[in-house]
Symmetry: C2
């Protein structure tokens, strides 16, 4: 076996956290990989809310979900994830994923930013079910990346330990800024 | 599902890394929990080398493995883990675990120390099989604990990325110094 990359570990956690029929969020649709992955986990009775600000990402995601015939359970939203509350209202959310940085195939100056990222995370925390999880995969090698990384780590590290468990999963001997995974899990009364 | 504690995640990794017939090491026998766990993973054709400097730990470990009838595949060694090389010689090792700190039921001033810990880890790295793994669970709330934590992190973080992947698994929003897991995996040529 090989130690899982942050990206693969995010999928391992989502597989364990998400059940058929759940409502979940892809905060950064990008090429639609995670939207498809989540759509398969929630099944036809579940719902994936998938956000992106770039038209090319919306197009790629729609193409991928149509091709895999999971469009029924997906709502692909051309809007910033900071407006997530307008779309989910009071619906319970069992999982959310954000891949922070830029769209690999797109304009590398269009990046996620700490203020909007944290506004989205804060909104989702309010709707998170017990044992529900928000996963942030932080890519931070680009200009602006380290600032976002530091603000997300500061926010997550200061969440109340009685309400949340916050895990950091990181390879520490690699020079090329490999992504860091942060997982925020809402505690149940007994955990 | 719940995010696994460092201790539980150490067992998840060992289960994936260890196969029947393997040679493995418990660097800190303590109450024998990990020695028993490893003995069950390696089976009768494998071997667990289990080290402790405290007689009470040796007794507890021998008691546990006898009770569970796995003594055949265990060598419980009353010696410091820094002398590991004398016992394993050139045998390949697929996994090792260290719980660093003090024996919970014992004298809390008898603690693992960075110099001997890192001597043991360095010796085992030389015998580690491709994809083999050394896991260090760092308890560091006690006097001397932070110094050991910092030296281990410094050592592990500076291992050559072409030879090893070094993972850090840590809960970051808890005030009571929860244990940190470090996993050092030897890379194969293709990984």
């Amino acid at each position: 076996m090989k130690l899982q990359s942050a990206l693969n570990f995010s999928h391992t956690l989502l597989k364990k956290a998400v059940n058929p029929g759940d409502n979940v969020i892809d905060g950064t649709a990008g090429l639609g990989h995670d939207t498809l992955f989540l759509a398969q986990l929630v099944g036809q009775k579940g719902k994936v809310f998938s956000f992106d600000i770039q038209q090319s990402a919306i197009d790629a995601t729609n193409h991928r979900i149509n091709e895999n015939e999971v469009q029924h359970q997906c709502e692909v939203i051309h809007d910033g994830h900071e407006n997530v509350k307008r779309y989910i209202n009071d619906q319970p959310i069992s999982a959310a994923i954000f891949n922070l940085g830029y769209l690999p195939t797109g304009n590398k100056t269009i990046i996620t930013k700490p203020a909007t990222t944290l506004k989205a995370v804060s909104a989702i925390l309010n709707n998170l079910t017990p044992n529900g999880i928000i996963i942030l995969v932080l890519y931070y090698g680009h200009p602006g990346g380290k600032e976002e990384k530091n603000q997300v780590l500061d926010f997550a590290g200061n969440l109340d330990q009685h309400q949340y468990n916050v895990l950091k999963y990181q390879f520490i001997n690699q020079i090329n800024d490999p992504p860091i995974l942060i997982a925020i899990q809402k505690r149940t009364k007994s955990s």
